[in-house]
Protein backbone atom coordinates (compact mmCIF):
# COMPACT_ATOMS: atom_id res chain seq x y z
CA UNK A 1 0.00 0.00 0.00
CA UNK A 2 2.84 2.28 0.99
CA UNK A 3 4.42 1.54 -2.35
CA UNK A 4 1.19 2.55 -4.14
CA UNK A 5 1.18 6.03 -2.57
CA UNK A 6 4.79 6.44 -3.67
CA UNK A 7 4.15 5.10 -7.17
CA UNK A 8 3.87 7.12 -10.38
CA UNK A 9 0.36 5.75 -11.05
CA UNK A 10 -0.90 7.36 -7.83
CA UNK A 11 0.71 10.63 -8.68
CA UNK A 12 -0.91 10.66 -12.13
CA UNK A 13 -4.36 9.90 -10.67
CA UNK A 14 -3.93 12.59 -8.08
CA UNK A 15 -2.89 15.05 -10.72
CA UNK A 16 -6.00 14.16 -12.73
CA UNK A 17 -8.27 14.66 -9.72
CA UNK A 18 -6.61 17.98 -9.04
CA UNK A 19 -7.22 18.87 -12.70
CA UNK A 20 -10.88 18.01 -12.35
CA UNK A 21 -11.16 20.07 -9.19
CA UNK A 22 -9.50 22.88 -11.06
CA UNK A 23 -12.00 22.57 -13.89
CA UNK A 24 -14.81 22.59 -11.34
CA UNK A 25 -13.46 25.68 -9.65
CA UNK A 26 -13.06 27.31 -13.06
CA UNK A 27 -16.59 26.56 -14.05
CA UNK A 28 -17.79 28.05 -10.76
CA UNK A 29 -15.95 31.22 -11.58
CA UNK A 30 -17.72 31.44 -15.03
CA UNK A 31 -20.88 32.68 -13.26
CA UNK A 32 -23.44 30.41 -14.96
CA UNK A 33 -21.84 30.13 -18.38
CA UNK A 34 -20.73 26.71 -19.58
CA UNK A 35 -17.12 26.07 -20.18
CA UNK A 36 -16.01 25.58 -23.78
CA UNK A 37 -15.80 21.83 -23.51
CA UNK A 38 -19.25 21.56 -22.11
CA UNK A 39 -20.56 23.78 -24.89
CA UNK A 40 -18.94 21.61 -27.47
CA UNK A 41 -20.48 18.47 -26.00
CA UNK A 42 -23.89 20.12 -25.97
CA UNK A 43 -23.58 21.29 -29.55
CA UNK A 44 -22.51 17.92 -30.87
CA UNK A 45 -25.06 15.91 -28.90
CA UNK A 46 -28.03 18.25 -29.45
CA UNK A 47 -29.59 16.56 -32.54
CA UNK A 48 -29.14 13.11 -31.10
CA UNK A 49 -30.68 14.18 -27.81
CA UNK A 50 -33.61 15.73 -29.57
CA UNK A 51 -34.37 12.57 -31.51
CA UNK A 52 -33.75 10.29 -28.59
CA UNK A 53 -35.96 12.48 -26.41
CA UNK A 54 -38.85 12.17 -28.86
CA UNK A 55 -38.38 8.42 -29.14
CA UNK A 56 -38.01 8.11 -25.39
CA UNK A 57 -41.19 10.04 -24.69
CA UNK A 58 -43.08 7.89 -27.19
CA UNK A 59 -41.81 4.70 -25.67
CA UNK A 60 -42.63 6.00 -22.19
CA UNK A 61 -46.13 6.92 -23.27
CA UNK A 62 -46.65 3.54 -24.90
CA UNK A 63 -45.42 1.70 -21.86
CA UNK A 64 -47.48 3.99 -19.65
CA UNK A 65 -50.54 3.33 -21.81
CA UNK A 66 -50.00 -0.40 -21.62
CA UNK A 67 -49.44 -0.20 -17.90
CA UNK A 68 -52.55 1.96 -17.44
CA UNK A 69 -54.69 0.05 -19.96
CA UNK A 70 -57.14 -1.06 -17.32
CA UNK A 71 -57.47 2.47 -15.95
CA UNK A 72 -57.95 3.90 -19.45
CA UNK A 73 -60.49 1.19 -20.31
CA UNK A 74 -62.45 1.98 -17.15
CA UNK A 75 -62.25 5.69 -17.86
CA UNK A 76 -63.45 5.03 -21.41
CA UNK A 77 -66.35 2.96 -20.17
CA UNK A 78 -67.31 5.68 -17.70
CA UNK A 79 -67.16 8.30 -20.42
CA UNK A 80 -69.26 6.13 -22.73
CA UNK A 81 -71.83 5.73 -19.99
CA UNK A 82 -71.79 9.48 -19.43
CA UNK A 83 -72.29 10.09 -23.16
CA UNK A 84 -75.12 7.56 -23.22
CA UNK A 85 -76.77 9.20 -20.19
CA UNK A 86 -76.39 12.63 -21.76
CA UNK A 87 -77.83 11.37 -25.05
CA UNK A 88 -80.76 9.91 -23.17
CA UNK A 89 -81.29 13.21 -21.39
CA UNK A 90 -81.04 15.04 -24.69
CA UNK A 91 -83.61 12.73 -26.24
CA UNK A 92 -85.94 13.24 -23.25
CA UNK A 93 -85.38 16.95 -23.54
CA UNK A 94 -86.26 16.88 -27.24
CA UNK A 95 -89.37 14.87 -26.47
CA UNK A 96 -90.41 17.30 -23.74
CA UNK A 97 -89.67 20.22 -26.03
CA UNK A 98 -91.85 18.73 -28.76
CA UNK A 99 -94.60 17.96 -26.26
CA UNK A 100 -94.37 21.48 -24.86
CA UNK A 101 -94.54 22.93 -28.36
CA UNK A 102 -97.55 20.74 -29.19
CA UNK A 103 -99.32 21.75 -25.98
CA UNK A 104 -98.59 25.39 -26.72
CA UNK A 105 -100.13 24.95 -30.17
CA UNK A 106 -103.17 23.23 -28.66
CA UNK A 107 -103.60 26.09 -26.18
CA UNK A 108 -103.40 28.51 -29.09
CA UNK A 109 -106.06 26.56 -30.96
CA UNK A 110 -108.28 26.35 -27.87
CA UNK A 111 -107.94 30.09 -27.35
CA UNK A 112 -108.78 30.81 -30.97
CA UNK A 113 -111.60 28.25 -31.06
CA UNK A 114 -112.99 27.82 -27.53
CA UNK A 115 -115.77 25.56 -28.81
CA UNK A 116 -113.34 22.81 -29.89
CA UNK A 117 -112.80 19.63 -27.96
CA UNK A 118 -109.67 17.95 -29.24
CA UNK A 119 -107.77 14.76 -28.62
CA UNK A 120 -104.20 14.88 -27.40
CA UNK A 121 -101.57 15.20 -30.13
CA UNK A 122 -101.34 11.77 -31.70
CA UNK A 123 -98.48 10.23 -33.61
CA UNK A 124 -98.65 9.24 -37.27
CA UNK A 125 -97.81 5.53 -37.14
CA UNK A 126 -97.31 5.20 -40.86
CA UNK A 127 -98.60 6.10 -44.28
CA UNK A 128 -100.68 3.58 -46.22
CA UNK A 129 -98.40 1.63 -48.55
CA UNK A 130 -98.45 2.91 -52.14
CA UNK A 131 -101.47 5.17 -51.61
CA UNK A 132 -101.34 8.15 -54.02
CA UNK A 133 -103.54 10.21 -51.69
CA UNK A 134 -101.27 9.81 -48.65
CA UNK A 135 -103.81 8.39 -46.21
CA UNK A 136 -102.18 7.41 -42.92
CA UNK A 137 -102.74 5.72 -39.58
CA UNK A 138 -102.64 7.47 -36.20
CA UNK A 139 -102.13 5.96 -32.76
CA UNK A 140 -105.54 6.79 -31.28
CA UNK A 141 -108.77 4.87 -31.65
CA UNK A 142 -112.11 4.17 -30.05
CA UNK A 143 -110.41 3.75 -26.65
CA UNK A 144 -109.41 7.43 -26.87
CA UNK A 145 -112.90 8.55 -27.86
CA UNK A 146 -112.24 8.67 -31.59
CA UNK A 147 -115.10 7.91 -33.96
CA UNK A 148 -115.28 7.69 -37.74
CA UNK A 149 -115.69 10.95 -39.69
CA UNK A 150 -114.03 13.30 -37.22
CA UNK A 151 -111.82 16.09 -38.58
CA UNK A 152 -108.07 15.63 -38.22
CA UNK A 153 -105.81 18.68 -38.19
CA UNK A 154 -102.49 20.19 -37.27
CA UNK A 155 -102.03 23.65 -35.82
CA UNK A 156 -101.38 24.83 -39.40
CA UNK A 157 -104.58 23.52 -40.90
CA UNK A 158 -107.04 20.76 -41.69
CA UNK A 159 -105.49 17.46 -42.77
CA UNK A 160 -108.44 15.12 -43.35
CA UNK A 161 -110.99 12.95 -41.67
CA UNK A 162 -110.98 9.66 -39.76
CA UNK A 163 -112.49 6.91 -41.88
CA UNK A 164 -111.74 3.63 -40.20
CA UNK A 165 -111.36 3.43 -36.46
CA UNK A 166 -110.18 0.47 -34.41
CA UNK A 167 -109.48 0.30 -30.66
CA UNK A 168 -106.03 1.84 -30.74
CA UNK A 169 -105.58 3.15 -34.27
CA UNK A 170 -107.48 5.16 -36.84
CA UNK A 171 -107.03 5.62 -40.56
CA UNK A 172 -107.14 9.18 -41.85
CA UNK A 173 -108.25 10.13 -45.37
CA UNK A 174 -106.52 13.34 -46.40
CA UNK A 175 -107.70 16.40 -48.30
CA UNK A 176 -105.62 15.11 -51.25
CA UNK A 177 -108.16 12.32 -51.79
CA UNK A 178 -110.98 12.62 -54.34
CA UNK A 179 -113.13 10.74 -51.81
CA UNK A 180 -113.17 13.65 -49.36
CA UNK A 181 -115.06 16.86 -50.10
CA UNK A 182 -114.70 19.88 -47.85
CA UNK A 183 -116.77 23.04 -48.26
CA UNK A 184 -114.47 26.05 -47.98
CA UNK A 185 -114.55 29.79 -48.48
CA UNK A 186 -112.04 32.54 -48.73
CA UNK A 187 -111.14 34.01 -45.37
CA UNK A 188 -111.48 37.51 -46.73
CA UNK A 189 -114.68 37.06 -48.73
CA UNK A 190 -117.70 34.86 -48.06
CA UNK A 191 -118.67 34.98 -51.75
CA UNK A 192 -115.63 33.04 -52.89
CA UNK A 193 -116.64 29.58 -51.79
CA UNK A 194 -116.39 26.13 -53.28
CA UNK A 195 -115.64 22.49 -52.61
CA UNK A 196 -112.17 21.17 -51.99
CA UNK A 197 -111.60 17.75 -53.50
CA UNK A 198 -108.37 16.02 -54.45
CA UNK A 199 -107.61 14.72 -57.91
CA UNK A 200 -105.22 12.05 -59.06
CA UNK A 201 -103.06 14.46 -61.02
CA UNK A 202 -102.78 17.05 -58.24
CA UNK A 203 -102.28 14.56 -55.38
CA UNK A 204 -98.90 13.57 -56.78
CA UNK A 205 -97.70 17.15 -56.31
CA UNK A 206 -99.18 17.38 -52.82
CA UNK A 207 -101.94 19.74 -54.01
CA UNK A 208 -105.71 19.60 -53.89
CA UNK A 209 -108.40 21.31 -55.96
CA UNK A 210 -111.06 23.92 -55.19
CA UNK A 211 -114.03 23.33 -57.46
CA UNK A 212 -117.40 24.93 -58.25
CA UNK A 213 -116.06 28.47 -57.86
CA UNK A 214 -118.00 31.37 -59.32
CA UNK A 215 -116.52 32.63 -62.56
CA UNK A 216 -116.40 36.18 -61.14
CA UNK A 217 -114.53 35.11 -58.02
CA UNK A 218 -111.91 37.41 -56.53
CA UNK A 219 -109.48 34.76 -55.38
CA UNK A 220 -105.82 35.63 -55.60
CA UNK A 221 -102.63 33.69 -55.20
CA UNK A 222 -101.78 32.83 -51.56
CA UNK A 223 -105.26 33.70 -50.34
CA UNK A 224 -106.21 31.60 -47.31
CA UNK A 225 -109.17 29.22 -47.56
CA UNK A 226 -111.02 28.18 -44.42
CA UNK A 227 -113.73 25.61 -43.77
CA UNK A 228 -117.27 26.76 -44.37
CA UNK A 229 -118.73 24.56 -41.64
CA UNK A 230 -122.03 24.03 -43.43
CA UNK A 231 -121.76 20.24 -43.64
CA UNK A 232 -121.47 19.74 -39.88
CA UNK A 233 -118.46 17.47 -40.49
CA UNK A 234 -115.87 20.21 -40.14
CA UNK A 235 -115.70 23.17 -37.77
CA UNK A 236 -116.26 26.60 -39.24
CA UNK A 237 -113.34 28.86 -40.03
CA UNK A 238 -110.43 26.40 -39.75
CA UNK A 239 -107.62 26.92 -42.29
CA UNK A 240 -107.41 24.35 -45.08
CA UNK A 241 -105.03 25.71 -47.69
CA UNK A 242 -103.79 28.60 -49.77
CA UNK A 243 -104.66 29.32 -53.39
CA UNK A 244 -101.86 28.46 -55.77
CA UNK A 245 -103.47 29.10 -59.13
CA UNK A 246 -106.94 30.07 -60.35
CA UNK A 247 -108.36 28.94 -63.69
CA UNK A 248 -111.56 28.31 -65.63
CA UNK A 249 -113.19 24.91 -65.90
CA UNK A 250 -113.28 23.37 -69.38
CA UNK A 251 -117.09 23.81 -69.48
CA UNK A 252 -116.72 27.56 -68.89
CA UNK A 253 -119.51 27.56 -66.30
CA UNK A 254 -117.36 27.61 -63.20
CA UNK A 255 -113.82 28.28 -62.11
CA UNK A 256 -111.38 26.16 -60.15
CA UNK A 257 -108.26 26.75 -58.10
CA UNK A 258 -105.24 24.67 -57.24
CA UNK A 259 -104.75 24.72 -53.50
CA UNK A 260 -101.68 24.02 -51.40
CA UNK A 261 -102.80 22.49 -48.09
CA UNK A 262 -101.69 24.46 -45.01
CA UNK A 263 -100.25 21.26 -43.51
CA UNK A 264 -97.39 19.44 -45.18
CA UNK A 265 -99.40 16.25 -45.64
CA UNK A 266 -96.51 14.17 -46.98
CA UNK A 267 -94.37 14.76 -43.91
CA UNK A 268 -96.72 14.61 -40.95
CA UNK A 269 -95.45 13.30 -37.64
CA UNK A 270 -98.25 14.32 -35.27
CA UNK A 271 -101.83 15.54 -35.64
CA UNK A 272 -104.88 15.96 -33.43
CA UNK A 273 -108.50 14.99 -33.84
CA UNK A 274 -111.27 17.54 -33.28
CA UNK A 275 -113.81 15.44 -31.40
CA UNK A 276 -116.42 18.17 -30.89
CA UNK A 277 -117.16 21.71 -32.04
CA UNK A 278 -120.04 24.12 -32.44
CA UNK A 279 -122.31 23.13 -35.31
CA UNK A 280 -121.21 19.51 -35.37
CA UNK A 281 -123.65 17.16 -37.04
CA UNK A 282 -124.86 14.72 -34.39
CA UNK A 283 -124.14 11.04 -34.91
CA UNK A 284 -127.00 8.86 -36.01
CA UNK A 285 -128.04 6.68 -33.10
Amino acid sequence: MRNFFKSTRFKILLAFIVFLVGVMVYSVTKGGYAVSFESMINTVSKPFRTVSNVVGIKIENSVDRLARANDIYEENQNLKKQVSDLNEQLSEYDLLKTECEELRQLIGIKQAHPDYTTSRFCKVIGYTANDPFMSFTINVGTDDGIKPYLPVATSEGLVGITVEVSEHTSTVRTVLSPDLSVAVKSKSSDDDSGIIEGTISSAGEGLTNLMHLRTDNTLKKNQLLVTDGTSGLFPKGYPVGRVKKVGMDSNGLSAYAEVTPCSDIKNLTSVFVITNFDGKKEDKK
Binding site: G126, Y127, N130
Partner: protein, 190 residues
Protein backbone atom coordinates in the same frame (compact mmCIF):
# COMPACT_ATOMS: atom_id res chain seq x y z
CA UNK B 1 -81.22 -45.77 -49.85
CA UNK B 2 -81.59 -44.00 -46.52
CA UNK B 3 -83.71 -45.24 -43.69
CA UNK B 4 -85.96 -42.95 -41.70
CA UNK B 5 -84.94 -43.60 -38.10
CA UNK B 6 -86.56 -42.11 -35.01
CA UNK B 7 -83.67 -39.69 -34.70
CA UNK B 8 -84.02 -38.58 -38.31
CA UNK B 9 -87.72 -38.17 -37.83
CA UNK B 10 -87.10 -35.89 -34.85
CA UNK B 11 -84.61 -33.84 -36.87
CA UNK B 12 -87.14 -33.63 -39.69
CA UNK B 13 -89.80 -32.25 -37.33
CA UNK B 14 -87.41 -29.71 -35.86
CA UNK B 15 -86.22 -28.61 -39.29
CA UNK B 16 -89.77 -28.27 -40.56
CA UNK B 17 -90.81 -26.22 -37.52
CA UNK B 18 -87.73 -24.02 -37.86
CA UNK B 19 -88.35 -23.57 -41.57
CA UNK B 20 -91.90 -22.42 -41.07
CA UNK B 21 -90.82 -20.16 -38.23
CA UNK B 22 -88.29 -18.52 -40.55
CA UNK B 23 -90.91 -18.24 -43.31
CA UNK B 24 -93.23 -16.34 -41.01
CA UNK B 25 -90.45 -14.17 -39.63
CA UNK B 26 -89.64 -13.17 -43.22
CA UNK B 27 -93.33 -12.53 -43.88
CA UNK B 28 -93.49 -10.34 -40.78
CA UNK B 29 -90.44 -8.32 -41.80
CA UNK B 30 -91.87 -8.01 -45.31
CA UNK B 31 -94.99 -6.50 -43.77
CA UNK B 32 -92.97 -4.12 -41.60
CA UNK B 33 -90.98 -3.07 -44.67
CA UNK B 34 -94.19 -2.36 -46.59
CA UNK B 35 -95.59 -0.18 -43.83
CA UNK B 36 -92.51 1.97 -43.31
CA UNK B 37 -91.81 5.30 -45.00
CA UNK B 38 -93.69 7.21 -47.66
CA UNK B 39 -91.96 5.97 -50.82
CA UNK B 40 -93.52 3.55 -53.27
CA UNK B 41 -92.54 0.06 -52.23
CA UNK B 42 -92.82 -3.42 -53.73
CA UNK B 43 -95.67 -5.65 -52.59
CA UNK B 44 -92.95 -7.96 -51.37
CA UNK B 45 -95.38 -10.32 -49.68
CA UNK B 46 -96.56 -11.57 -53.09
CA UNK B 47 -93.23 -13.13 -54.17
CA UNK B 48 -92.69 -14.39 -50.61
CA UNK B 49 -96.06 -16.18 -50.57
CA UNK B 50 -95.51 -17.57 -54.07
CA UNK B 51 -92.00 -18.77 -53.29
CA UNK B 52 -93.22 -20.55 -50.16
CA UNK B 53 -96.05 -22.16 -52.15
CA UNK B 54 -93.64 -23.66 -54.68
CA UNK B 55 -92.12 -26.01 -52.11
CA UNK B 56 -95.20 -26.83 -50.07
CA UNK B 57 -98.50 -28.59 -50.48
CA UNK B 58 -101.58 -26.63 -51.47
CA UNK B 59 -103.07 -26.49 -47.96
CA UNK B 60 -99.99 -24.87 -46.48
CA UNK B 61 -99.81 -22.64 -49.56
CA UNK B 62 -103.42 -21.56 -49.14
CA UNK B 63 -102.89 -20.61 -45.49
CA UNK B 64 -99.70 -18.74 -46.31
CA UNK B 65 -101.43 -16.94 -49.17
CA UNK B 66 -104.27 -15.91 -46.91
CA UNK B 67 -101.93 -14.64 -44.17
CA UNK B 68 -99.86 -12.65 -46.65
CA UNK B 69 -103.04 -11.32 -48.27
CA UNK B 70 -104.43 -10.10 -44.95
CA UNK B 71 -101.12 -8.39 -44.22
CA UNK B 72 -101.17 -6.68 -47.63
CA UNK B 73 -104.74 -5.52 -46.94
CA UNK B 74 -103.60 -4.03 -43.64
CA UNK B 75 -100.50 -2.39 -45.09
CA UNK B 76 -102.30 -0.95 -48.12
CA UNK B 77 -105.56 -0.16 -46.29
CA UNK B 78 -107.57 -2.29 -48.71
CA UNK B 79 -110.80 -4.05 -47.91
CA UNK B 80 -109.80 -6.66 -45.32
CA UNK B 81 -109.79 -10.00 -47.10
CA UNK B 82 -109.61 -8.69 -50.66
CA UNK B 83 -105.94 -9.49 -51.22
CA UNK B 84 -106.25 -12.56 -48.99
CA UNK B 85 -108.63 -14.13 -51.49
CA UNK B 86 -106.48 -13.20 -54.47
CA UNK B 87 -103.27 -14.49 -52.90
CA UNK B 88 -104.88 -17.69 -51.64
CA UNK B 89 -105.99 -18.51 -55.18
CA UNK B 90 -102.57 -17.56 -56.56
CA UNK B 91 -100.72 -19.68 -54.01
CA UNK B 92 -102.86 -22.77 -54.54
CA UNK B 93 -102.43 -22.40 -58.30
CA UNK B 94 -98.66 -21.98 -57.99
CA UNK B 95 -98.39 -24.97 -55.67
CA UNK B 96 -100.24 -27.16 -58.16
CA UNK B 97 -98.48 -25.78 -61.24
CA UNK B 98 -95.05 -26.41 -59.75
CA UNK B 99 -96.08 -29.86 -58.55
CA UNK B 100 -97.33 -31.05 -61.92
CA UNK B 101 -96.02 -28.85 -64.72
CA UNK B 102 -93.04 -26.67 -63.87
CA UNK B 103 -89.63 -27.38 -62.39
CA UNK B 104 -88.43 -25.54 -59.35
CA UNK B 105 -86.21 -23.11 -61.25
CA UNK B 106 -85.60 -19.42 -60.76
CA UNK B 107 -86.77 -18.41 -64.24
CA UNK B 108 -90.07 -20.22 -63.82
CA UNK B 109 -90.62 -18.57 -60.44
CA UNK B 110 -89.64 -15.16 -61.76
CA UNK B 111 -92.03 -15.34 -64.71
CA UNK B 112 -94.90 -16.67 -62.58
CA UNK B 113 -94.20 -14.03 -59.93
CA UNK B 114 -94.14 -11.25 -62.56
CA UNK B 115 -97.40 -12.40 -64.16
CA UNK B 116 -99.28 -12.86 -60.90
CA UNK B 117 -98.07 -9.61 -59.33
CA UNK B 118 -99.11 -7.81 -62.53
CA UNK B 119 -102.57 -9.36 -62.23
CA UNK B 120 -102.73 -8.25 -58.59
CA UNK B 121 -101.70 -4.68 -59.51
CA UNK B 122 -104.20 -4.59 -62.36
CA UNK B 123 -107.04 -5.87 -60.16
CA UNK B 124 -106.12 -3.33 -57.52
CA UNK B 125 -106.17 -0.52 -60.06
CA UNK B 126 -109.43 -1.74 -61.60
CA UNK B 127 -111.38 -2.22 -58.40
CA UNK B 128 -110.02 0.74 -56.47
CA UNK B 129 -109.69 3.43 -59.13
CA UNK B 130 -110.85 2.54 -62.65
CA UNK B 131 -114.42 1.46 -61.95
CA UNK B 132 -115.04 4.57 -59.83
CA UNK B 133 -114.35 6.83 -62.80
CA UNK B 134 -111.79 9.01 -61.13
CA UNK B 135 -110.54 11.77 -63.35
CA UNK B 136 -107.20 10.75 -64.95
CA UNK B 137 -107.41 7.32 -63.32
CA UNK B 138 -104.91 5.98 -65.84
CA UNK B 139 -102.27 8.13 -64.16
CA UNK B 140 -102.57 5.87 -61.14
CA UNK B 141 -101.81 2.84 -63.29
CA UNK B 142 -98.87 4.47 -65.07
CA UNK B 143 -97.36 6.32 -62.13
CA UNK B 144 -98.13 3.99 -59.25
CA UNK B 145 -99.35 0.51 -60.19
CA UNK B 146 -96.72 -0.17 -62.86
CA UNK B 147 -93.90 1.17 -60.72
CA UNK B 148 -95.01 -0.92 -57.76
CA UNK B 149 -95.22 -3.94 -60.07
CA UNK B 150 -91.69 -3.30 -61.38
CA UNK B 151 -90.35 -3.02 -57.82
CA UNK B 152 -92.18 -6.23 -56.89
CA UNK B 153 -90.63 -8.11 -59.82
CA UNK B 154 -87.17 -6.84 -58.86
CA UNK B 155 -87.69 -7.75 -55.22
CA UNK B 156 -88.69 -11.30 -56.20
CA UNK B 157 -85.03 -11.98 -57.09
CA UNK B 158 -83.97 -11.31 -53.51
CA UNK B 159 -86.93 -13.27 -52.15
CA UNK B 160 -85.89 -16.26 -54.28
CA UNK B 161 -82.33 -16.14 -52.99
CA UNK B 162 -83.35 -15.71 -49.36
CA UNK B 163 -85.84 -18.57 -49.38
CA UNK B 164 -83.48 -20.75 -51.40
CA UNK B 165 -80.97 -20.49 -48.56
CA UNK B 166 -83.60 -21.44 -46.00
CA UNK B 167 -84.87 -24.33 -48.10
CA UNK B 168 -81.33 -25.54 -48.77
CA UNK B 169 -80.67 -26.02 -45.08
CA UNK B 170 -84.10 -26.84 -43.73
CA UNK B 171 -86.14 -28.48 -46.47
CA UNK B 172 -86.52 -32.23 -45.71
CA UNK B 173 -85.01 -34.64 -48.21
CA UNK B 174 -86.75 -37.77 -49.46
CA UNK B 175 -86.41 -40.60 -46.92
CA UNK B 176 -87.89 -44.08 -46.61
CA UNK B 177 -89.19 -45.66 -43.45
CA UNK B 178 -88.08 -49.20 -42.55
CA UNK B 179 -91.43 -50.56 -43.72
CA UNK B 180 -91.16 -48.67 -46.99
CA UNK B 181 -87.61 -49.94 -47.48
CA UNK B 182 -88.62 -53.57 -46.92
CA UNK B 183 -91.57 -53.14 -49.24
CA UNK B 184 -89.35 -51.51 -51.85
CA UNK B 185 -86.78 -54.34 -51.58
CA UNK B 186 -89.48 -56.97 -51.90
CA UNK B 187 -90.81 -55.30 -54.98
CA UNK B 188 -87.32 -55.23 -56.46
CA UNK B 189 -86.77 -58.95 -55.65
CA UNK B 190 -90.00 -59.89 -57.38
Amino acid sequence: MRLKTTRELRILYIKTALRWLLYYIIIFFGFVFMTSGTWLKPIILIPIALRISINNNMYASAVTGAVCGFLIDTACEKLFGYNAIILTVFCIAVSLIFEFFLRNKFVSFWIVSAVLSYIQCWLDYTFYYKIWNYQNAELIFNNYSLRVWAYTVISSVFVWLLLKIINHFLMPKKHFSIEETIKHSEQQNH
